[in-house]
Amino acid sequence: MDKPILEIKNLVVEYRTEDGVVQALNGLDLTISPGETHGLVGETGAGKTTTGLGILKLIPDPPGVVVDGEIYLDGKNVQESNEKEMEGMRGYDVSMIFQDPMTSLNPVMTVEKQIAEVYELHENIKEAEALKKSHEILELVGIPAARGSEYPHQFSGGMKQRVVIAIALAGNPKLLIADEPTTALDVTIQAQVLDMMKHLKEEYNTAMLMITHDLGIVAEICDKVSVIYAGRIVEQGNLVDIFDNTRHPYTEGLFNSLPNLADRTQKLKPIKGLMPDPSDLPTGCPFHPRCDYAMDICSKEKPPRVFRTEEHYTECHLYNEANIKEGGVIKRD
């Protein structure tokens, strides 16, 4: 296997506020190989965005504190890198597409300038040349170069997101973090943008961390999937593992929450309850209060990590080395 482009080990992040300590990440592990597209799936507040910001070392501090863990980006230790080294990596080794294109662009700066900055910062070229290159990438994301001199408010949501993507791609990064890149967009635009990202990713052979709550997007674009719950990966595997050999009850719950387009008469089965308060997580398995299969042990002990294959594991008390390979306890309707 290739040397991983991203390796996160046991990442623990807390937000320490006046109202208490929010445990955003509780020992997150994640590895991405070059060219791989890795989906990070979970509900709002599970720690998805914190993971992305952690890789860029841009977790707002205060209140965010990285308590434990290591992040290696293309072999470089992010936690031990100083600000100057991080500036070299951001936009060049790794870049991020942010969730809300409406607020992610500077309202008082032209679009072309906002893209050109990436070239000026990392390629040591003059402004005129940087602007020329920004026009090229605008065309690449499907925006006429002539519109580069306009301001963000003159663009539609989908167009803005294309600009945000152009900014992220401009440095030709080895890893692209996409944080819910299509959530804020209309469904039809979503498909276009996703399609474009898929295409560009293949062209540049960029590895990608696709942060989303939408399993549809995961199926469309990802090679591997991590399901995150309360700041920890509860199930990880490749696309087939997760979709066809689902093990964790939470993953199953996510699938049951999706409308089944093939059988429209089928009722949705949403996961009961809400995400636990991250400043006051349940003991044991944090999912146990919402879990249909919860046992006594679930509220007492943290579940162990059990591997079904080398790539596919889950953290759940339902499983042990023996039964995980046999199809598990979950029966899909």
Binding site: E87, R90, F98, T103, N106, M109, E117, V118, G171
Partner: protein, 308 residues
């Protein structure tokens, strides 16, 4: 854009007539007879009656005002009751002093306030932040005239670094400028800090940082232009406050400006001069407000789009 400017300037005309009418009415209903004020307490009733007639004070207020307004349309600000000279000359003689005073005050204020506010925001909750915001609070709470007196005693009378009255050289404007500008400086610094604090939390700042841009550059190139938008509003408002403050400052530092002229004229019931002064202040204030709005459009393309 030009259409917008023209519209604003045209709108100023009825406002100015409204302002003069308002002040005219206030001055007319106010107790105190201009004729008596001019001639003094010893004047005979006949002399007063004669002067009242000369000045047209016996006509109904509205007739008096229309007479004034007619002159105003021709650019005539009238004649001073007291000096008998044209109001425009009296004002012209004093306006440079007031303009120099307010100008030096706003320059001092802006030059100190914006860096102070920006740095305080970036270093939020540090000693520097606490100290500069404490100074800003003092600036907001300190009466101009008290600060003026203290500066006057210390730096003019005791140390002799600056003249204690008059408006002969640039040195005459240093202490008044500081006294008058301190309050504005404090307001501008506080606004800059709080708008900066809001801006540096915006998503686009995160975007800029994710490009690998050094933080200082993010602050100056991305945050500052956005944070200046509310600051510009406050600077505009402060110029209005400075004009009013100039009345107090000119009094403390014995500067021969419009501020003192207006006080003398109100006390002497010299209505044409009062009106002239208010008119000048209002015109300057309105033009400053227009400039502020144009500056807005320059800084913020979203606002510019609304104008054209």
């Amino acid at each position: 854009m030009w259409k917008y400017i023209l519209k604003r300037l045209l709108y100023l005309i009825p406002v100015l007539f409204g302002v003069t009418l308002l002040v005219y009415i206030i001055m007319s209903v106010a107790p105190g007879d201009p004729a008596k004020a001019i001639l003094g307490d010893q004047a005979t009733p006949e002399a007063i009656a004669q002067l009242r007639e000369e000045l047209g004070l016996d006509d109904p207020i509205i007739v008096q005002y229309l007479r004034y307004a007619k002159g105003l349309l021709k650019g005539d600000l009238g004649t001073s009751y007291k000096s008998k000279g044209p109001v425009i000359t009296e004002i012209a003689a004093r306006i440079p002093t007031t303009l120099k005073l307010t100008f030096s005050a706003i320059i001092i204020a802006v030059i100190v306030a914006i860096p102070l506010g920006v740095v305080a925001a970036i270093k939020q909750n540090t000693l520097f932040d606490g100290l500069s915001m404490f100074i800003a609070l003092l600036g907001i709470s300190m009466p101009i005239f008290w600060l003026g007196i203290l500066l006057l005693i210390q730096f003019a009378q005791k140390l002799g670094w600056f003249p204690s009255s008059g408006a002969e050289s640039w040195k005459s404007f240093v202490l008044p400028g500081i006294a008058l500008g301190f309050h504005s400086m404090a307001s501008i610094a506080r606004t800059t800090r709080s708008s900066m604090l809001e801006v540096i939390r915006q998503d686009y700042i995160r975007t800029a940082r994710s490009k690998g841009m050094p933080y200082n550059q993010v602050v100056t190139q991305h945050a500052l232009p956005n944070a200046l938008i509310p600051t510009i509003t406050v600077v505009g408002l402060q110029i209005g406050a400075l004009m009013a403050g100039s009345v107090l400052t000119e009094s403390v530092f014995s500067l021969p400006g419009i501020g003192r002229l207006i006080i003398f004229s109100i006390q002497g019931r010299d209505i044409p001069v009062v009106l002239g002064c208010i008119l000048v202040f209002t015109i300057v204030f309105s033009i400053v407000n227009l400039l502020v709005d144009l500056l807005y459009a320059y800084v913020d393309p979203r606002i510019k789009a609304q104008y054209s």
